[in-house]
Symmetry: C2
Subunit: 100 residues, 2 copies
Amino acid sequence: MDDKKSCPDIEVLFELADLFKVFGDSTRLRVMVTLSDSELSVMEIAEALNMEQSTISHQLRVLRQNKLVRVRRDGKQMYYSLDDDHVKKIIEMGLDHILE
Amino acid sequence: MDDKKSCPDIEVLFELADLFKVFGDSTRLRVMVTLSDSELSVMEIAEALNMEQSTISHQLRVLRQNKLVRVRRDGKQMYYSLDDDHVKKIIEMGLDHILE
DNA sequence: CTAACATATGAACAGTTATTCATATGTTCA
DNA sequence: TGAACATATGAATAACTGTTCATATGTTAG
């Protein structure tokens, strides 16, 4: 039988809530949208959003821990990019709902 | 030109963050998943999740305000159901990410 | 090695949020 | 009308979270 649509158990829903929490912050969302265009360093992101380096770094950590972004070191800089296409799809789904 | 993929402006991203915040709570998520099977009254939801009526009622209000659930009165009871298919799709997208 | 730079991290604070308790609103039935 | 029931709401509290400041870690060039 196809099990994909069956009711996910409680533990998974807790994990899922944690994932959506990550999307539920405008700074993180803006970081993700910014990264959907191109790979960027921490400072480039901070400048693009006009926010402090520290703030962005803290939020990038959250995104990293949730496997929403990837990092690559190049010299002194760390270059971040979106981890997979789920990210874009989740954001688009959300936009669909908002834009009716 | 097709504009769908263009960078959403800041205001929209704030709205979007608010939407994802709603999904970022396990109680609300469980309510939504419970409602994906069938329309239920407040008490039925509370019993299904083994939580207080008041807690569920408060959270249903949040879901209502965000147009994620619909209500229908039948006598003393209020019957809630999911508002549209975006809800299920957003949850499924999230699950896809979690389950790798 | 050292200075200069990029990023990460810890502690603290302010603002937000989910839950609970108590109670109000609204509906049905006798 | 009044009692019983279902739901909604307000206030209070405890827990969580994002940002900032200060500083640590790590890298490169001289």
